[in-house]
Symmetry: C2
Amino acid sequence: METETGTNWLNHEEQRAWRAHLDVSRLLMHKLERDLQPFGLTNNDYEILVNLSESEDHRMRMSDLAAATLQSKSRLSHQITRMENAGLVRRENCESDRRGLYGVLTDRGWETMREVAPHHVASVRQHFIDLLGASGIDALYGSLAPVAEHLRTRRKIG
Amino acid sequence: METETGTNWLNHEEQRAWRAHLDVSRLLMHKLERDLQPFGLTNNDYEILVNLSESEDHRMRMSDLAAATLQSKSRLSHQITRMENAGLVRRENCESDRRGLYGVLTDRGWETMREVAPHHVASVRQHFIDLLGASGIDALYGSLAPVAEHLRTRRKIG
DNA sequence: CTAAAGAAGTTGAATTCTGAACCAATCGAT
DNA sequence: ATCGATTGGTTCAGAATTCAACTTCTTTAG
């Protein structure tokens, strides 16, 4: 059912779902960011540490890292420079492709990761996971997975 | 069940739900932002226009606007300055509290809103709402509402 | 009535982010 | 082989964001 103007506005249920997603997204990021502050890390820092930690040889190509963390190459480049200055990662040349670079976790980066991860996970639990309950978790994933899929594929195109 | 270290890591279901939320959140914001670009608006611009449009007399106190849009007073102040320069809003003194200011929608702001809103809603539908389906919408809201509530209350405190 | 504390907003400097321009290396077709 | 198109990555300038300091007004307590 559309209005006379032809615009298919959101109904009440749609609005509140949309707003809930928006609010949770923003408030949660903000809270997680604050919980990381005592360790001198930002959310972005942390996510990069996670990605490198879980990778073969604790290293990833810049492009792959940018794709995995959903940010532009430019932003990642700046980010890695900062983390390099902080001693958490280093750049290393790629032999198979002389244009390429690896972002590599340093020992210090790895140590930082091992120290911080438990706190971060606790934070994610406290402010998100544990509030959902098992059924909420499945419901959430069931709802969101198709959206994520849609957006990911559309990303390559546009 | 915890590991020997005492940290209650996320299991597979929890991880994928968490990541889905994260990915949707970021990809969607990015996509919506891009869809607003042709109109010369950012997401933040748009949200402020919405809030003012829906308010009595098309005006809101700065503090309330900051709270409603979940941003710091500082950020909002800069934001309003930009929008003022763009002719979308203006500041107006508050008589009942001489410290206070209103952010007020200009005619141009209102026109912009009426023009852009249909496109934005279409975008939200296309990339989010319509991918969830009716059941997904309810499931999502059911899952997220308690989290949003938790975070909102915790916000005042911390 | 007054002093201290708190609330409303702004400002400015430092940081981060964005988008376009750029360089260098690789690929692909002739 | 070589020329054009892509890919990987950085850099620069401009815009947005953060954080702390600051001003002005209001509220509260004595």
